[in-house]
Amino acid sequence: MGMAATLKVGPEERVRIRVKVNGVWYEREVEPRKLLVHFLREDLGLTSVHVGCDTGHCGACTVIMNGVSVKSCQVLAVQADGAEILTLEGLAKDGKLHPIQEAFWEKHALQCGYCTPGFIMETYWLLSENPPNPTEEEIRRGGLSGNLCRCTGYQNIIEAVKLAVQRLRELKTMQ
């Protein structure tokens, strides 16, 4: 992929991209200016990826791209060509919620729910990056500082992340 030939697409042209989203490869034609968030929502129908502020602040559009969390309104769809993307839709397995989703549910870490997919995806990255035991400071500053919630005041969200850490650790010891 890194050695692929130079690609040049004019401003009025479209470019064919291949993206693996939640385990499935999709091929679509997009304008170079199309943002990843619009590609995921409009072309693939993955509406968990929310457009919040549209300026890179709120984190409601957070998805995992090639293993790291990104704000999908800050990335072009054409940049994701060849990439692996994970959205909230890809978390639950066999009808069972992911432990992070369960933790958000149990701790009632939401009110209106608009920011929730972004928070859950950012938590997913945080816990894949720093599995042992993030401190509350690490959860707040190093983890969730790029996600805004305008209803709950964050307390229950932090509690949910702590619970998710505990659950994931238990799952690991069981394995």
């Binding site: 130079t6 040049k8 957070t62 990104v70 990335v75 072009l76 500053r141």
Partner: protein, 285 residues
Amino acid sequence: MYPPKFGYIRVNSLEEAVKVLEADENAKILAGGQSLMPMLKLRLVRPSYLVDINRVPNLSYISIENDKIRIGALVRHHQVEVNRDLWKIYPALPETAVQIGDPQIRNLGTMAGSLAHADPAADWPATLIALRASVKVLGPSGTREVPVEDFITGPFTTVLGRGEVLGEIVIPRLSGTVKSSYVKLERKAGDFAVVGVAVMLKLSPDGSVEDAGIGITAAGPRPFRAREAEKALIGRKLTDDVIEDAAERAMKESSPISDIRGSAEYKRAMVKVMTRRAIKNALSR
């Protein structure tokens, strides 16, 4: 919000990027894109083509050598944040990284991109100036090295000429006891600095300062090196009076403007406070 229409070129080498930029002065490099995307959406920039360098191989290195550290053009802030060697050698570097934007932005945003973008409140320039770093610039007529201090010439303005791209950041390593710190005053997590001060101190065995570097951001039209403040430290032991004198001088060297992050008067006062804190924080390490 949709960005304006632009074309897209994916290159496999920086040399290729140089050729594109030389032929088309309205083309623009896309690295991390974390400042570029909002600017595109707000139509503050209207490039003809975006030249995507993200697939260029071997640009994501942090190379720690005996006398210098070399940082490739695609090194993301997060890579600096989690680099254990850098925490030991120059803690000011990862300390700067963790205070930039938020985790998602740090996963994509690059040090080189931040320098080339030259926001007058950006964090990296302060630290890189304090550490006496320079940048390697690739252009149509070859390679040149420019100190970071001279690289940024004004708000969103650098010495990069037509067809030139930033290839690497080079940070010299000093021998002996070297301490460093970056202190940032911000209104809320993830915001740009109200004022940011980075300090590097090389101490002799008797505890006096052999060499000092002080870089300041968001307190003038461009990030600057506080030379008078550095002079106040060199050759002296760091008593409270000496530190106070240096902080006072740094304040006098600053020329902030009033904006949404504070009045010029407030920011000047904060330059003094942050300089004092940065020196003390570096010393405590």
